[in-house]
Point group: C2
Chain length 405, copies 2
């Protein structure tokens, strides 16, 4: 495997062939709320969607679009401020209208444009405002275009979330960039979270789909902020195919390298989302080793990082491993309860399921840092997995007790 390094200078228009922009259309009061990402030629597209049973209109339209175009599309249009979810037949019609208008605006076929929406549920889109906004969109290849794009997809996020990698393998240089939004309602299956990945790799849609699925499972689906999952979540990847390389085929080193780099990009975005959980002050990383399977490890890690009591304890810098134990035990994954070790930061707090002396002052100090690490060692097998989350704070309550009104 090659080394991939997250680069601060790679952004969503760095991979060859992409242009982006974001504008203020008027769905939000002041901030940017409409974004467009365009590829100069048909790109291979792949997407994963929310598992919530209520899927918003834009999700339905994008699914159909990717199907109709056999995964070869030119652009994605995103609005923030209104999720166009639970809006009935009118909402679905509006979603098609916004897609078609964007296609007309950039001169491509309707089935070559994906769409996404994020924001308040249950209100019809203000279509006149939205359609007028589309006329303002002028995607560019400059970094400022990537920046305005990243801003325009935000809702309660405190900042943009961008990352990227560049790697060379077999003589070819591949760039992968990602941009995401998400803070509240972040739970395992990608709740109220949007992610857009661009790459200049040469890869077919179905191969890209499998690579994306695997990367999302190991990254976006391992974050949890508050246990809810939303109606609108989507991660969409576009591959322009404009770098000089042989097509990436599964089962080759080129594919493995691509998957690794894609996972790095997704993980970096997922952590940025977890860290930006509504009101959060800290990123919590939970690692489980020695579980029966990787899947079991990940489920246990999620249960711990999703526990309100663990989250408040981390906020309070309290090395309260009793709550960690309670969360592990409450997970549906059967474990050997007599052989559990827990480490919080550098401190072993539980060995063989029994409390051990640890330096509480040091533990408290470590829990005051930006990233709090919890490691859980079981003796049930070789499965391992991670989950990411954030602490539960006064500000979470404040933000969510007054979001809509």
């Amino acid at each position: 495997m090659i080394e991939t390094t997250i680069s601060p200078v790679v952004h969503v228009v760095t991979p060859k062939g992409f242009q982006a922009c974001g504008v203020h259309a008027g769905l939000k009061r002041k901030r940017k709320d409409l974004a467009l990402l365009v590829c100069e030629q048909l790109a291979s597209a792949a997407a994963v969607y929310t598992t919530n049973q209520f899927q918003a209109a834009p999700i339905q339209v994008t699914k159909e679009t990717l199907h109709a175009s056999s995964g070869k599309i030119r652009a994605v249009l995103i609005n923030s401020g209104n999720a166009n979810a639970c809006t009935g037949p009118q909402g679905l019609e509006d979603a098609y209208t916004m897609r078609d208008k964007a296609a007309e605006h950039i001169g491509v076929k309707p089935e070559e444009v994906a769409i996404a929406s994020t924001g308040v549920i249950g209100q019809l889109l203000p279509m006149e405002t939205l359609l007028n906004g589309i006329d303002l969109l002028e995607p560019i290849h400059e970094e400022t275009g990537a920046e305005s794009f990243a801003e325009a997809i935000l809702t309660t996020d405190t900042g943009t979330k961008c990352t990227g990698v560049e790697y060379t393998e077999g003589g070819a240089t591949v760039t992968i960039a990602g941009v995401a939004k998400g803070s509240g309602m972040i739970h395992p299956n990608m709740a109220t979270m949007l992610g857009f990945i661009t790459t200049d790799a040469v890869i077919a849609p179905d191969v890209l789909q499998r690579a994306l699925k695997q990367s999302v499972d190991a990254s976006f689906n391992s974050i949890t902020v508050d246990g809810d999952s939303s109606t609108n979540d989507m991660v969409l990847a576009l591959a322009s195919g404009l770098t000089e390389m042989d097509e990436i085929i599964e089962g080759t080193p080129a594919y493995d390298c691509f998957c690794q780099a894609l996972t790095d990009v997704c993980t970096d975005l997922a952590k940025a989302i977890a860290r930006d959980g509504e009101g959060a002050t800290k990123l919590i990383e939970v690692e489980v080793v020695g579980a029966k399977t990787d899947e079991a490890a990940r489920m246990i890690a999620k249960q711990v990082v999703g526990s309100s009591l663990v989250k408040t304890a981390v906020y309070g810098q309290d090395a309260n491993w009793g709550r960690i134990i309670a969360a592990i035990g409450a997970s549906e994954q059967p474990i050997d309860v007599n052989h559990v070790d827990i480490r919080i930061g550098s401190q072993h707090v539980l060995m063989e399921s029994a409390p051990v002396w640890f330096d509480e002052a040091l533990a408290t100090e470590e829990m005051g840092q930006d990233v709090v690490s919890i490691q859980i060692r079981l003796q049930d097998g070789t499965g391992q997995g991670q989950a990411y989350g954030c602490d539960l704070t006064y500000d979470y309550v404040k933000i969510n007790a007054s979001y809509r009104t």
Copy 2:
């Protein structure tokens, strides 16, 4: 079925044959922390326990005790302030020691005494303090004994939780009383919650066990405060058999009446616990009708009442049905997503999965009341179920960010 009415004058020593008391032993700084309930003759006993995989030492000891005594015991000893959970072999030995000392103190066999503990996890019991405390216990048949008992089992609760019913069926008068503690960590399967039921009904242990299981499923297991489940939860029922009646046999009207009254007592206690969720200002009642099965209805109701976003919206008096929809959709129970009605208080907010106009000012006003009711109507079948919970507030964070230290 008979009418049973919750009575404020029935308490845990009202059913014939019971005595109770609570004292300050020193496990907590100032408040009462040790409680004893005694029956003047061998009582039929039944219990249900936490589903957390880590079961605390007192749970293990009580299970074994009820087994050894074939469900005929004389007393239960409870301490608060220390859960004696995750305390290894020493913790188990301590649990037996406290049981045996209590048995000696009241002059019965060790296997005739159940025990329970609640409080901080992972610290050994201060045995000298505890054993000295047992010597102070003088259970009485007076109401003051019931009151001190109810106080001594509390942890972060803001008040005692007691209830009771008296009913007459087939010429016999039966009294059932209940006392409970619980506020934090309350999730479906009875997390950090203790309940003690006394009755003078004539009923065999195995019949009582089935009646209790059924009542707990419909009550205690329908409450959720924060999604965690604890290591120490237990509901224990004791039947003295001292009222004048024929023995209660399953499949008879006498059994049905008893079950109904027991469920009423358990539901009343469960609501009191939900209402007293840490930092809570309101009780949330979610009712689901039209689900595929009763079980599905209850699961969906729990998902809604357990959603942090719903809980904060209720705190903020925001009729944000989008979060309710998101929670319903996130449950694992498949539903017909196109035919969902939601009512918040008196206001229909969603009909056939589409938003309808409602009086937001009135909705906000209603959500300011002590009890907020959410009704969900599906079109998937005839299943129905309820769940109870509370809002998520600043004080929840405050209490839990600083509980242990």
